[in-house]
């Protein structure tokens, strides 16, 4: 295709991507270097029955004017990145000096908002991703052996957790595990503990969020593996059987290697998607026990009194750096595939 023609075909798509994906990333970076204006103070004389006093007051008019003139706020360099709500160098340093051991240090560090969110996000990502692959694979093996007639309905039901809006799916589960919901009340009866609440305990909340994550994403892994199972070469299978391989050995040495590229594909997609975990925390109202990077950005943006664009920007930039690190293997793999195709 001629370069000119290519350019005109791709142009509309490229413009939207540049305007609404590339530019915002730049805008986020710029925002993160600025901080909200401080209120302009003026000294006024306040005279009461006991004499006059000089008092500092917020000059509302001047503050509004300043905001109007420079909506971005004032330049703060990397100040936002290092403050208590983000990388918190000072607090980390103090915690390091004052802590009695590694455990103590971590418990102190994990009280800081950014590290708290980071620890949940990473735990979620690296617990949910392997579990999704394992469950997806087992379901695929199971469904593959079903009679043809019931495969269709099974796949239909399996798709539901993935297709349904994440916010809604997690709400449905949340209502069930509510202390008065079917699962929550049943658990209370089983453990004979009327105060058992999945919401009150941080550990249980973490577990519930991850259970949701696996429930939501397992269908994706299942469908991909299921499609992969249809393409397992019959010849190799038969050869393995003739050589006396047991069912387990056939699965281990024929099916698994055949599905390996799919496993890589699923884990790369899942790592990217799980890293942005957000909706379940809103649905579960779990912010007291678990926050994620996406959630703290959201929290900065929808604040009831004011929005903290600088703070949200800084967390966003740190998140983008995190995503980029996760993305490197994906890019290397795509690059290699492409070059192989060319050769």
């Amino acid at each position: 295709m001629k370069n000119r023609t290519f350019f005109w075909f791709i142009l509309p798509s490229l413009i939207t991507m540049l305007l609404f994906i590339a530019l915002p990333i730049v805008s986020v970076a710029v925002q993160s270097l600025h901080i909200e204006h401080q209120a302009v103070m003026i000294e006024v004389e306040n005279c009461g029955p006991f004499g006059c006093k000089q008092e500092l007051q917020v000059d509302v008019e001047e503050t509004a004017k300043l905001k109007e003139e420079r909506p971005l706020g004032q330049f703060n360099a990397l100040g936002t990145y290092t403050n208590r709500n983000h990388l918190a160098f000072t607090e980390i340093g103090l915690a390091w000096q004052s802590s009695t051991g590694v455990v103590d240090f971590f418990s102190k560090a994990l009280n800081l908002p950014f590290y708290r969110a980071l620890s949940f996000t990473l735990t979620y990502t690296f617990v949910v991703t392997p579990l999704v692959i394992i469950f997806g694979f087992m379901i695929a093996l199971g469904v593959n052996t079903l009679p043809k007639r019931i495969k269709g309905p099974t796949i239909f039901i399996s798709l539901l957790p993935m297709i349904v809006t994440p916010l809604i799916g997690s709400l449905i589960l949340f209502w069930m595990i509510d202390a008065n919901g079917i699962l929550g009340a049943t658990l209370q009866r089983i453990f004979d503990d009327p105060d058992l609440s999945l919401k009150a305990s941080p550990t249980l909340t973490w577990i519930m969020l991850m259970v949701y994550g696996v429930w939501h994403s397992a269908p994706f892994a299942f469908i991909v593996f299921y499609a992969g199972l249809q393409t397992v070469p019959a010849d190799t299978m038969e050869a393995a059987m003739i050589d006396g391989a047991s069912r387990w050995e056939r699965t281990r040495y024929v099916v698994l290697p055949h599905l390996m590229p799919l496993t890589v594909f699923i884990s790369l997609i899942q790592l990217m998607d799980n890293f942005r975990v957000f909706e379940p925390i809103v649905s579960f109202s779990a912010q007291a026990s678990a926050t994620s990077l996406s959630w703290i950005i959201y929290n900065d943006l929808v604040g009831t009194e004011s929005q903290f664009f600088g703070s949200a920007g800084a967390t966003s930039v740190l998140t983008i750096i995190g995503v980029s690190i996760l993305l490197i293997p994906v890019l290397i793999r795509t690059w290699r595939d492409f070059n192989q195709k060319v050769v």
């Binding site: 295709m1 915002p24 916010l167 449905i172 983008i320």
Partner: protein, 294 residues
């Protein structure tokens, strides 16, 4: 005959497999069934501490409303809380996002599939990077400029933003679909004197629909399921269903109207249910398209 032997298995293994599949089916399907049934009950039944069977038989519902099933939740959501407006907004957003992203995506995806130049590949890599960006980080880049330029809160703003966020995925998917359409088709048209665009219009467009439908389904799902963009970029009056449900959570819980939210959740799930019912095959093929090939 051979395949019969391959698929023969011991009764123990069969039981384990059937058990596993059954557990999964219940885990995947039961929550939806339960919530659908419960949405026709009163709160005392759906959230029954004493006995979950209350929700099945509707004991409190019988006492409070006189029937075993009640539509109060739905009346509350659709009439009192004006959920219909949100549903209307959602349909505008979803239809526009699907149409615009497919239009841009087919043009771009076709060009990427036929270019064969190195820069087409770089663009695809760039799209991959863009796809990985968490949506909320992009939103935090939009908000301030949108406030400044008075673009915040309107449906078209949310639509164009979602089209853009959707583009990388759409491009990748349509690109791989166009790769499957033989090159000879449009090239022979060009030998006959068509321009590139005419070849696209008259030769490729008639045969591209299966791929476009599949991609359209995923655009639909992205727009319909979105919470991040719609919750942050739309004003109260323009809210779509998902952020509306999220805002129900706070208000209905305190008012004791949680059943409104349950009814709204069921209402918003219903279209997705129908979608899978009719397009199951396309969804499955779309999910596997990227994986099995690449």
């Amino acid at each position: 005959m051979m395949s019969d032997i391959v698929h023969r298995r011991s009764p123990v293994l069969s039981t384990v497999i059937w058990g596993l599949v059954l557990v999964w089916i219940i885990a995947a399907g039961f929550p939806f069934l339960w919530t659908l049934w419960g949405s026709f009950k009163v709160q005392g039944d759906f959230f029954s501490k004493a006995d979950w069977a209350n929700a099945v038989y509707g004991v409190r519902t019988q006492i409070e409303t006189g029937g075993a099933l009640t539509g109060n939740g739905y009346y509350g959501a659709w009439v009192t809380k004006e959920f219909g407006l949100a549903a209307f907004n959602t349909s505008i957003v979803v239809v526009s996002v699907v149409i615009i992203s497919l239009t841009l995506g087919t043009l771009g995806g076709y060009a990427l599939a036929r270019s064969g130049k190195k820069y087409a590949f770089y663009l695809l890599m760039l799209a991959l990077v863009f796809r990985a960006m968490p949506h909320i980080t992009l939103v935090s880049g939009y908000l301030l400029p949108f406030f400044e330029w008075n673009l915040w809160g309107h449906l078209p703003t949310a639509i164009i933003v979602m089209v853009a966020i959707n583009q990388p995925f759409t491009l990748w998917m349509l690109h791989s679909f166009f790769l499957n359409i033989p090159k000879d088709l449009d090239e022979s048209a060009m030998v006959d004197g068509c321009t590139r665009f005419q070849a696209f219009r008259h030769v490729i467009v008639p045969v591209m629909w299966p791929g476009v439908v599949t991609t359209g389904l995923f655009s639909f799902l992205l727009a319909y399921n979105d919470f991040t963009v719609t919750a942050t970029l739309l004003s109260q009056a323009n809210q779509t269903m998902v952020p509306k449900i999220a805002s129900f959570l706070g208000t209905t819980q305190t008012e004791g109207n949680i059943m409104f939210a349950v009814a709204a959740v069921v209402s918003a799930t219903a279209p997705l249910f129908v979608l899978i019912l009719f397009f199951q095959r396309q969804i499955v093929s779309g999910l596997t398209a990227g994986a099995v090939k690449g």
